[in-house]
């Protein structure tokens, strides 16, 4: 859904989600692909501008199902 919002409104600020253990950058558990690199969503985001490319495991699974 966030990807669809980004397509409609490139200026939107999107709040992404990932499983987080600590939420303050310690555990590296919430790493997702941001602009092609695995980065901690809790410190890089979780709110990112709509033009930033984000790939989460949930999205990947949906792609496989589609």
């Amino acid at each position: 859904m966030l990807a669809a919002v980004a397509a409609l409104a490139p200026g939107a600020q999107l709040a992404w989600e990932a499983r987080m253990a600590c939420g303050f950058g310690a555990c590296y558990g919430c790493a997702v692909e941001i602009e092609g690199r695995l980065k901690r969503l809790c410190v890089e985001g979780p709110v990112l501008p709509g033009h930033v490319r984000v790939q989460t495991p949930d999205m990947a699974r949906r792609d496989v199902a589609a």
Binding site: F24, G25, Y28, G29, A31, E33, L38, V43, P57
Partner: protein, 291 residues
């Protein structure tokens, strides 16, 4: 006597948390930078959590250039967790850290799946010892067939201490009965690990004379006290930090109260109490207070 478990705290992101500690243990550093495993990397389970981070780290070059100088500014003693895939990897990282002000090098030796884990542990410790003058601690897996034998092997190879324990392997399945983690199994930590850690510390205290950092599911002062009693000379807090970053100060206060109740002044006086037979070393609990 209170440290953090490696990988459970970023001292640069949370300096106030790190300042509660007697020493800060870094996330494991490997020779080359590693991006880590694909997500999903963590899963919550009834008795703790699973993780499969995959040793994400900047590599020794990046660590020395970017991370270490800023860590040293915190004025908290720094222990560096050292990782690798061969004994040469460990030796390389230890060599590079030898001339830094780091206090201790903790070898993330967790190879329960190799054919001769004790010999492999000894090989890694020995390679590290040849690469550095610094004290080298061996962090052992509780999944070893005989953790005390591995501890003896590490001691004979020149380890200055032990860190007990690393995680156990666990698996969690999602609603579709597929593994939650991208790597399927991951490291189990938290409350489930506490009796496992106590047993490992207890066995290794009997088998070696080395100092022991005990960790696994510590979330209260009583938990810390039990690790000292089993034979630890320091304790580390791991998974608990994720839920309660200020746990170290709280646990320190609780531990002090636990020790006072036993008539003890400092944690090391409780070391090994679980091993005493016969003479009661603890004050009689039923005794009425004198006044």
């Amino acid at each position: 006597v209170i440290l953090n478990g490696s990988g459970c705290l970023d001292a640069l992101a949370s300096p106030d948390v790190a300042r509660q500690l007697d020493a800060f243990v870094t996330k494991t550093v490997t020779p080359l930078p590693r991006e880590g495993n694909e997500p999903v990397r963590i899963a919550e389970v009834e008795t703790g959590m699973l993780n499969s981070i995959g040793l994400a780290n900047p590599g020794i070059d990046g660590f020395l250039a970017e991370t270490l100088p800023r860590l040293l500014e915190l004025d908290v003693p720094v222990w560096v967790s050292v990782g690798g895939f061969t004994a040469d990897d460990y030796a390389e990282v230890c060599d590079r850290l030898d001339r830094t002000p780091v206090d201790v090098l903790e070898l993330n030796v967790s190879c329960p799946n190799v054919k001769a884990p004790n010999a492999e542990t000894a090989r890694i410790v020995s390679a590290a010892r040849q690469a550095t003058q610094k004290p080298v601690y061996a962090k052992l897996s509780p999944a070893l067939p005989d953790v005390a034998a591995a501890a003896v092997a590490a001691a004979e190879a020149g380890a200055a201490g032990l860190t007990l324990v690393n995680t156990l392997k666990g698996l969690s399945l999602d609603g579709q009965l597929r593994p939650v983690l991208s790597t399927a199994a991951g490291g189990l930590s938290g409350p489930a690990l506490r009796p496992v850690a106590l047993a490992a510390v207890h066995a290794c205290y009997r088998a070696t004379a080395l100092p022991i950092v005990g960790l696994g599911g510590v979330s209260t002062g009583r938990h810390a006290l039990e690790l000292f009693a089993a034979g630890a000379s320091a304790v580390a807090i791991g998974t608990t930090l994720f839920a309660d970053p200020f746990a170290p100060a709280r646990i320190r206060a609780e531990l002090r109260a636990e020790l006072e109740a036993l008539g003890l002044d400092e944690p090391l006086q409780a070391r090994g109490l679980a091993h005493s037979n016969g003479d009661p070393l603890l004050p009689d609990q039923k005794k009425t207070p004198a006044n």
